[in-house]
Amino acid sequence: MNKEKESIFKNAGVQSIIAAIFCIIVGLFIGFLVLLAINPAGAGSSIVTIVKNFLNYPTKPAQLKYLGNTLVKTAPLLMCALSINFCYKVGLFNIGAAGQYVVGAGACLYAALAWKLPWIVCLLLAVAAGALWGTIVGFLKAYANVNEVISGIMLNWIGLYLVNMLLANVKEQASPYTLQLSSTNSSAILPTAGLDKLFSNNKYVTIAIPIAILIAILLQVILTMTKFGYELRATGFNKDAAKYAGMNEKRNIILTLVIGGALAGMGAALLYLTGYEQWATTQSSVPAMGFNGIAATFLGGLNPIGTIFSSYFIQHITSGGSYLDKSIYPSQISELISAIIIYLCGFVLFFKYVMNRRIAAGQEKKIRAAKAAEKGGEDK
């Protein structure tokens, strides 16, 4: 009996990639339709502008510089995505990543601007703050059975107001933004290790990006090759079975959220310690970075390595949105496209189911045809 060659489409990884590409194409298409509805004339070129992002600039050095800018924002997005990814593997939806990101930002900026500490200390403080915020969610979930989505959202808002209050002490006189890192405490800025030269002397490009990528790889290793990672995934698949097997699921839940919080807090440090952005102390809503992380993680097929690419893509189109002609199209179009992509990612399971069914149907057909041919030959 011939062994049927396994269709390449059955590979889970390939299916995830195909599903992700499908979500992206449909998301972009719907974005295009929205642009058409607003102003038909410029819709086609606008959607191309969004997709091109830094390629919109005419010269190579300029392109590299703006690619650098996109990468600067990809690092924190990747960290938030990894935070949500890690927690999702354990069956927890860490929507509190946005709040953990906020307190991380508050901690590192305050340490940098008020206490004038060097970058490594600020970074560690941000990690600690995020981890603390995650611990609260973890404790509430493990010991009080509070749904982590609700507690996460509550803590997001509490964190926002606390950080706004805290950073109001280190803000500029005439504007609601926090002081510039470069003028107040340049030792807090992340070192560039020569990476800025690769991107036309874009001084915001720092070791943040390699760090984020290394952590993604590290998480993949932890999840797949260590006992701890195994326990976490087992708890995610079936909490009660894991408990029956002797795993301490309360400890695992809390630890997972601590790590998730630490990752998100670090993400904040990786952005604000580059000096790229200042914190607006009057902001009335939680920064979108935490929520875009959800898009990135699901688009990446819930795999840390895939998340690297999807984070870059989400940031690519988000940055691309800022090049639209604002007098015609609002820049929120990119948010719209990202949101549609997340929505479609919810259907990914369905896509995989459909793909598997078609492959199985195709294989069945072949077997039946082969059997019929055999039988037909015998009869004759």
């Binding site: 509430l140 509070v146 989505v149 179009i333 990202s338 929505y343």
Partner: protein, 312 residues
């Protein structure tokens, strides 16, 4: 004092309407985290109708606005329905996506409308100063808002529908044990659609109540400041029962109202507590409350699990 009472009632109305929406949806078995998004879209619909009806008869304004908000909310909730009932998507993810999508879509739509009217207007704000007055009836110094009555009626009807009608009992059955419900002939898909659409209607109306509470224009970029999630907390605290939800809504509404009116109380103002603390209080209180009451929380058993006819 009167102002505090007013604000408490209005915020409690918002919370109870949205929480009831979540209640219907979860009783049928679909977790509706997208309530925040439904509120935004409902608010958009209501705000657009308020803007369009400036100068019309008050009764018209009231009825059309509520209907518009309800319709917009219902249509938006079909996104949740399709994904979770037919495509068996992860309901938490779909809900979150709907929240992000709603704020982005509302901002895009409002900006487009504003820019179409006046190319220099790139804001995401809609104003409805005059139309809003249609909703208010003054009793001396107290501004009674028709929405408060609406919320109260919604609570009463929800109680009657859920516990005293066949439809309500069947709806709840689909959230507790859909396979058993199916075995006696209840169409689980239809029931779940009903739950989701009702939550869309209630969430949408809750949205328009929120943005007209106390203010005369709304900047859609900000969404609804986490109110949808506060409503979910109210629902969980109220243990998915309409009466408890109403009481919980009053409690949370009180704290939210406090942040608007604390400067009117001389003894509170003397404490010199920063405004941010008052803003935080509803969220802190809800966390504390949930921490103590979630231990014995009895959510509908089959919520969040996509209904699969083939499984036991």
């Amino acid at each position: 004092m009167i102002l505090l009472l007013q604000y408490t009632l209005i915020f409690a109305s918002v919370l109870s309407l949205v929480a009831l929406g979540g209640c219907f949806s979860e009783h049928s078995g679909v977790i509706n985290l997208g309530l925040e998004g439904i509120m935004v879209i409902g608010a958009l619909g209501g705000a657009l109708s308020l803007k369009a009806l400036t100068g019309a008869a008050p009764v018209m304004i009231v009825i059309v606005t509520i209907l518009a908000a309800a319709l917009f909310g219902m249509v938006y909730s079909t996104l949740l329905g399709v994904a979770s009932i037919h495509f068996k998507a992860d309901q938490t993810l779909v809900g979150t996506a709907m929240n992000i999508l709603a704020t982005a879509a509302a901002t895009v739509i409002v900006k487009a409308i504003n820019m179409a009217e006046n190319p220099d207007n790139v804001s995401s704000t809609i104003q409805y100063v005059n139309s809003k007055k249609a909703f208010i009836v003054r009793f001396g110094k107290f501004e009674f808002n028709w929405f408060m009555l609406l919320a109260f009626l919604a609570l009463v009807f929800a109680y009657i529908i859920l516990y005293k009608t066949r439809f309500g009992l069947r709806l709840m059955a689909c959230g507790e044990n859909p396979q058993a419900a199916d075995s006696v002939g209840i169409n689980v898909y239809e029931m779940r659609w009903a739950g989701v659409l009702i939550s869309g209607v209630l969430g949408g109306v809750g949205g328009i109540v929120y943005i007209t509470a106390g203010v005369s224009e709304w900047k859609f970029e900000t969404g609804v400041a986490g109110f949808g999630f506060l409503a979910l907390a109210v629902m969980i605290f109220g243990q998915w029962k309409p009466v408890n939800i109403g009481l919980a809504a009053l409690l949370f509404g009180f704290f939210r109202a406090l942040s608007n009116v604390y400067s009117g109380f001389s003894w509170l103002a003397a404490l010199k507590i920063p405004g941010s603390i008052y803003n935080m209080m509803p969220y802190v209180i809800s966390l504390i409350v949930l921490a103590f009451t979630s231990a014995n929380s009895r959510a509908p058993k089959a919520e969040g699990i996509p209904y699969d006819k083939g499984s036991r």
